[in-house]
């Protein structure tokens, strides 16, 4: 009997060895395909990677584009940071990120990278106050004090002052933030750093920061879960997620002093400001009078010089044509998915940036 088990074990071991060998063999050949993908003969399939925020919109846009142009686009929703590092390693045709590349990432790439704004999103403050029927109003100072742990009760005088007529409970404030590194956190902390001196020196901005107080949830759904479950909780989530899940969110006071309800329209409005030629602008706290202050662009990143890794001119042209479609005709799919369409200023800046892309020194788009 022990012999039989021995034989079985041997067979299992042998099988494991074989499958291991075949796996690694398969894996390496696949990797090879991936790394030379840009140079591969199949120029009818582009590869992109990055921001998970963009993923639902890209899925819709790329499937529509595929219907009319027959171009396959494989987008991997791996996160902004991972998208940038894949572009740096030249394993993808384009990256996508919710934050412009920082100095360290810039120094890691071998050639200049173009940032093309493709959509805009907003970060909203959602809360759990079952007895409060009116929409809560928040000012930048109150928001920063809450997240710094200085305001700890909902009936604090500062909150009551801007929410006259609202009966605020005396419950303690429970703060929910993202525990995973994310573009959402980046937009939110960039905003707080801009409007509050203490936040800027004590905490700073980034996709992960050292939160002074609060609980962390993984992803939008994690933060939303904490908010829904904990009475007295407040946390920041993406606008699209809040709308889709019917969560209450606060009106924020913008730079002009108006209290703005976050919506697709108010985000687009926030982006209707003078945009620098490289489009690397944070849409937080912009001068727009009717713009929601905690907004941000999402960018597609490509190399300015498209001739690298033996890429064909055809492939480069297809990529540029696709991106041009995304910022023009593709924008019609934004609204239905709760993404803010690009403002007129953003579209014209994006188009100008796309025209600056070259293949072997010659411009690609005319």
């Amino acid at each position: 009997m022990s012999f039989i088990t021995f034989k079985i074990k041997l067979a299992i071991a042998a099988f494991a060895l074989i499958s291991l060998a075949s796996c690694s063999g398969g894996g390496s050949s696949e990797n090879k395909n991936d790394s030379t993908a840009s140079a591969s003969s199949d120029d009818n399939a582009l590869i992109g990677a990055g921001s998970s925020f963009d993923n639902p919109l890209f899925s819709k846009m790329f499937s529509e584009y595929n219907k009319t142009n027959g171009l396959k686009i494989n987008y991997q929703s791996v996160g902004s940071g991972a998208g940038i590092s894949q572009l740096t390693n030249k394993t993808v045709d384009f990256g996508a990120s919710d934050a412009p590349m920082n100095a360290k990432q810039d120094s890691a790439v071998s050639a200049p990278v173009l940032h093309i704004p493709v959509t805009a999103g907003a970060v909203v403050l959602s809360y759990n106050l079952p007895d409060v029927k009116d929409t809560l109003k928040l000012t930048p100072a109150i928001l920063a004090d809450i997240f710094l742990g200085k305001i700890t009760k909902w009936d604090d005088a500062k909150i009551a002052e801007v929410n006259k007529g609202v009966k605020l409970p005396s419950t303690g404030i429970v703060i929910a933030h993202r525990s995973d590194g994310s573009g959402t956190s980046n937009i939110f902390t960039t905003y707080l750093s801009k409007v509050n001196e203490e936040w800027s020196t004590k905490v700073g901005k980034g996709s992960s920061v050292n939160w002074p107080v609060g609980l962390g949830g993984k992803g939008n759904e994690g933060v939303a879960g904490l908010i829904k479950q904990t009475p007295g909780a407040i946390g920041y989530i993406e606008l699209a997620y809040a709308i889709q899940n019917n969560m209450p969110y606060a009106k924020m006071q913008n730079k002009a002093g108006n209290f703005i309800t976050p919506s697709i329209a108010s985000v687009t409005a926030a982006a209707n400001v003078t945009i620098p030629a490289d489009s690397k602008i944070s849409l937080t706290n912009t001068d727009a009078a009717d713009g929601y202050p905690i907004s941000g662009f999402s960018w597609v990143l490509i190399y300015k010089e498209q001739k690298y890794n033996n890429r064909s001119a055809d492939r480069a042209a297809k990529l540029l044509k696709l991106l041009s479609w995304v910022i023009h005709d593709g924008q019609q799919y934004s609204g239905a998915l709760n993404y803010a369409p690009l403002s007129a200023a953003a579209v014209s800046t994006g188009a100008a940036i796309l025209k600056s892309a070259t293949y072997d020194g010659k411009p690609i788009l005319q």
Binding site: G81, A82, G181, V213, T230
Partner: protein, 328 residues
């Protein structure tokens, strides 16, 4: 074709590479016997070599992982030094990394989970090993316990968030503590449930291996069932029971997903067992994808290295304890 005995024998041999029992019964002449023995020795050798190869492969794999972790965490070790271990701040913005809150969180949740799970796992082991080794109810219980080990950890996370966290929150309100719900205590409860099967099934098999002569001797001297368990079974199986507990501790140390969902993920040092915290595995899972600076990435990998070493140290201590128990 298969009529000749030689052919027949060949078939038996090729059928099972180690077909010793089958072929010994077949009458064969001396020449064939020598040939057969030679063949047999060769298969034996091949088998032995394969075993050695597998063993070496395992060692290489572990050393390779250790080496990769050390090499990849070099930038962080150079930049932060030993301060990394007891630094209390984890601030990716300013490139300050201290693993102390996460080290504390990992050890707190794991040991608390262990303390909670031991009464259950030992009770199940005694019930299945001694009281009811056979029958449909024990079989059902045994399968259920094994099923606990097979449930994916993300499901425990969901269950924890939806069921356990509100319960813990109402307990916290009764106790007058900040009612977060999530925290070290909730994670320890989830972990306790997840690790019960490891200690329980190992405990069950060692309890079943207690020689019946010993037990019968005790009974014939007038010992009660409780006395047999207390004075015969527990002393006889303590190293096995301890090994099972050690195995479950290893599982608790490395658990990621379920813990991430209910621990509250904050890098503030927990003040009590109800406070939110974070574990090393959970931080790695949360922050790895968006670690956009080389030192940051390296600090996260160093966290993996620390986790690896903590597991090794705890295992070594466990081995020492087991061998002391067995020598008694």
């Amino acid at each position: 074709m298969l009529d000749t005995p030689a052919e027949n024998n060949m078939l038996t041999l090729s059928d099972g590479s180690l077909g010793v029992i089958g072929s010994v019964k077949t009458p064969v002449n001396v020449g064939q016997k020598v040939k057969r023995l030679y063949r047999q020795i060769r298969t034996e050798n091949i088998f032995k070599r394969m075993l050695v190869l597998m063993g070496i492969l395992m060692i290489l794999l572990v050393l390779g992982i250790l080496l990769t972790l050390i090499v990849e965490s070099m930038p962080s070790i150079k930049a932060l030094g030993a301060k990394y271990l007891w630094g209390k701040t984890w601030d990716p913005v300013q490139d300050i990394y201290g693993a102390y809150p996460f080290l504390l969180g990992t050890l707190l949740t794991s040991f608390l989970a262990l303390v909670i799970s031991i009464p259950f796992s030992v009770a199940i082991a005694i019930f299945l090993g001694e009281y009811y080794p056979k029958g449909w109810l024990p079989d059902f219980l045994k399968n259920t316990v094994e099923l606990i080990a097979a449930v994916p950890s993300v499901i425990y996370g969901f269950w924890g968030l939806a069921v356990l966290v509100p319960l813990v929150r109402s307990l916290e309100i009764k106790l007058g503590i900040d009612p977060y719900g999530v925290g070290i205590f909730s994670s320890a409860l989830i972990l306790a449930v997840m690790i019960i099967p490891y200690a329980a099934s190992l405990g069950r098999s060692v309890i079943q291996m207690v020689p019946s002569a010993l037990k019968e001797g005790a009974y014939s001297l007038g010992a009660t069932r409780w006395e047999v368990i207390r004075h015969i079974i527990i002393p006889y199986t303590k190293s096995g029971l301890f090994a099972g507990i050690l195995l479950s501790l290893g599982r608790a140390l490395g658990e990621t997903m379920a813990v991430t969902m209910v621990i509250g993920n904050t890098s503030i040092i927990p003040k009590n067992i109800f406070a939110p915290g974070n574990t090393m595995a959970s931080v790695i899972a949360n922050e790895f994808t968006e670690a956009d600076k080389p030192v940051y990435l390296s600090a996260l990998i160093e966290l993996g290295l620390v986790l690896f070493l903590v597991t090794v140290v705890i295992n070594m201590i466990g081995k020492r304890v087991i061998s002391r128990f067995t020598n008694d």
